[in-house]
């Protein structure tokens, strides 16, 4: 995983998100969850100094479920604290994240803020999403040959390009990532219009 992050950073990617664990994953067997939690904890601890040294800002999306072990939650907080002033690439780890849940929270937040129905437009709505500074997603790489969205950042992937390499996530390496990136660069993104826009440009 860390070499993918490294590859993305050196290729000039500014926003990288990893989908580690979804809200629905809690339905998996307990042992598997325990194993996953320990794995994540090990990864966080192992790579924290490198992430910090590389100027990568780390964030965790979701990660508020009380079922997350206390210690792991502390490690998430520590990693965020450690890297919060970094200005290099932003690495968002979607942990216990669900795209629909995000949209529901945005709706709640809008209602709480007392925004009138007529005043709600896309930009306004997006501003109430958790971590609103996340830009729209340009490219989603779904490994393991699966071809589903799986409730991932539903709002942000509206105009994303999708690539479905068949390689399994544990085997996914920097070279695979660069292949996907190459593939993406050759695509023609139109955002529903006819004029192609340069990839990565803002398009609101």
């Amino acid at each position: 995983m860390i070499d993918v992050i490294e590859a993305a950073r050196s290729a000039g990617v500014e926003w990288l998100s990893l989908y580690a664990f979804s809200t629905e994953n809690w339905r998996r067997p307990g042992e598997e969850i325990d194993f996953l939690m320990r794995l994540v904890s090990r990864v966080v601890r192992k790579h924290a100094p490198l992430l910090y040294a590389r100027g990568i800002r780390c964030r965790f999306l979701g990660a508020e479920d009380p079922r997350i072990p206390v210690r792991l939650a502390q490690e998430f907080t520590d990693l965020m604290t450690l890297t919060e002033s970094n200005r290099g690439m932003t690495l968002t780890v979607a942990f216990d994240h669900g795209g629909r849940q995000d949209i529901v929270s945005a709706a709640r937040s809008l209602i709480r803020a007392g925004v009138s129905a007529d005043a709600v437009d896309q930009a306004r709505f997006a501003a109430h999403l958790p971590v609103p500074d996340t830009p729209d997603v340009d490219l989603v790489i779904r490994t393991s040959g699966e071809q589903r969205i799986s409730n991932f950042m539903l709002w942000q992937v509206a105009y994303a390009e999708w690539i479905f390499p068949s390689v399994l996530w544990p085997d996914f390496r920097a070279s695979h990532f660069l292949e996907c990136l190459h593939d993406y660069r050759s695509r023609d993104r139109r955002f529903g219009g006819v004029t192609p826009q340069a990839n990565g440009e803002p398009h609101r």
């Binding site: 924290a48 072990p69 210690r71 520590d78 604290t81």
Partner: protein, 512 residues
């Protein structure tokens, strides 16, 4: 009341001659001539006084710790401390209150002094009771108060001697006169401190040899406080950093303090003799003396006090620099935690959330004395802290205490299920959800009343700052920028019974 040890209440005035005809070398060479009480007050207090010279002396920190230990060794004071004092859990708050109080008492302004003396007297009037063996103690007992002043004086003298700069006779007598005047300013009639320095040493030696004991409070200070010293607010949230420093410094401070106590007492109380401790102790005093060469404003006690009162996300002159510094330290703390090996595998998933936070609230906020039980002294300590913050006079002070007392009765009635007169952590955790009774609401109302100094039914920014030492948060004020009674009561209740973390109340009641 079966063994009210009457010998402890005998007068130890000037004519109490102890069995010591050969005082320690510290004693004066028989020159009782100078009449101290004749010196006018303005020379005894204020910037020209001897005390004032010591107040900004780094050695004084060591001396005050030593004096506190000697006070705690007095059976009556020890009992009062063990019962009432929140210093184990909130030592920094206590230290900063003490320093501010001494500053007022020894300052140049007579009015401030009288007001502070009255406040101290009211505070001490509320501290009385009986110890574990049913012997009464009373913080207003003039003997007791004389001993407190005596330890402060003696520790100042000893601090100079230990750091290789003994005071000359004239300075020492002058200092003694100042401390006598301090006791007199508290309103105690003369006679409890011996009139002359010569007699003082006899009195002191006799107290050390006969009255002092290895009290519980003494053991708590020496062996518990230093090694478990909670982080001051500035370091809150950085437990790793604090614990590392404390693990090194805690035992050293304890050892230094023990080594500086009178030999007679160390032997009698069975305090440990650590090889090299004497050298270490003298080294510490000498180092502290040399620290006086540091730039003046580094070592000013006022600055130290304001540092103690700072909490990181407050506001104030140096808040910005402090926030930056703290952010760095926080990052360092996070990194240390992340790279240190995981202790043992104990992945408790935070299931019983409500119950656990009730326990945390009990330890962090309610149990001010840190004895594991909620009892009147805990709530009295809260009332005391609020009164000090708001600098209350009568009758407001009594109103606040009364409100807290009523709340205590309410808590006791509702929670003390085993009827032992106090509330244990389990009893509190079991009943925690149902806890905002009328008496607690009354506490909130009274607190609002005394905080609202101008009585306009709103707390303005100035009044808010007096209580919380910070500006308004975004969330507390209404459209006109004021804090209303209902909002105040609601916030107080959500802190006290809803156990919500609060940027206002946590520094006030939970910080060390």
């Amino acid at each position: 009341m079966k063994d009210t040890d009457s010998s402890r209440f005998t007068r130890t005035g000037p004519d109490a001659t102890g069995p010591y005809d050969d005082p320690e070398p510290t004693g004066p060479p028989g020159d009782p001539g100078r009449e101290a009480s004749g010196t006018p007050t303005e020379f005894l207090f204020g910037p020209g006084s001897q005390f004032h010279r010591f107040f900004n002396d780094p050695r004084w920190a060591l001396a005050v710790v030593r004096a506190t230990v000697l006070e705690a060794a007095h059976p009556q004071i020890g009992a009062a401390l063990a019962d009432n004092s929140s210093f184990v859990v909130h030592p920094w708050r206590r230290l900063s209150n003490t320093l501010v109080s001494l500053q007022r008492m020894f300052g140049a302004d007579e009015h401030t002094r009288q007001r502070e003396a009255a406040r101290l007297n009211r505070l001490h009037t509320r501290l009385s009771g009986t110890d574990a063996r049913n012997r009464p103690y009373d913080a207003m007992d003039p003997e007791v108060r004389a001993w407190v002043v005596a330890t402060l004086f003696e520790s100042s003298v000893t601090m100079c001697r230990l750091s290789g700069q003994p005071l000359d006779q004239i300075t020492m007598e002058r200092l003694y006169a100042e401390f006598q005047a301090f006791l007199a300013a508290l309103g105690d009639e003369a006679g409890h401190l011996p009139p002359t320095l010569h007699e003082f040493w006899k009195y002191y030696d006799r107290m050390v040899a006969e009255e002092l004991q290895n009290t519980e409070a003494l053991r708590i200070i020496l062996f518990k406080l230093f090694e478990h010293l909670p982080a001051p607010p500035l370091f809150a949230g950085l437990p790793t950093v604090w614990a590392t420093g404390r693990a090194l410094a805690g035992p050293v401070i304890g050892t230094i303090t023990v080594a500086s106590l009178p030999e007679v007492f160390r032997r009698r109380a069975g305090l440990p003799e650590v090889p090299g401790a004497q050298t270490l102790m003298q080294g510490a005093y000498v180092t502290a003396r040399l620290a006086r060469a540091l730039p003046d404003n580094w070592i000013r006690t006022e600055n130290f006090v304001s540092l103690l009162q700072l909490s990181p996300d407050g506001d104030g002159p140096c808040a910005e620099a402090l926030t930056t510094l703290r952010a760095r330290v926080k990052r360092a703390g996070a990194l240390i935690r992340l790279i240190t090996p995981v202790p043992a595998q104990q992945d408790g998933t935070g299931g019983t959330e409500n119950r656990r936070s009730a326990r945390v609230f009990f330890t962090e906020v309610l149990d001010q004395t840190g004895d594991g039980y909620l009892d009147w002294p805990d709530l009295a300590a809260m009332a005391r802290e609020l009164c000090s913050r708001l600098d209350l006079d009568e009758p407001e002070e009594t109103r606040l205490y009364d409100a807290f007392a009523a709340w205590w009765r309410e808590l006791q009635a509702a929670l003390d299920s085993d009827g032992d007169g106090r509330v244990s952590e389990e009893e509190y955790a079991a009943a925690a959800p149902s806890l905002a009774g009328p008496a607690l609401i009354r506490v909130a109302e009274v607190l609002f009343g005394v905080t609202d100094a101008d009585g306009d039914q709103f707390i303005d920014a100035e009044e808010y700052r007096v209580l919380f030492r910070r500006g308004f948060g975004r969330s507390v004020v209404d459209a006109e920028g004021r804090y209303s009674r209902s909002a105040f009561v609601r916030d107080f209740l959500s802190f006290m019974s809803g156990r919500q973390r609060s940027t206002s109340y946590d520094p006030l009641l939970a910080d060390a």
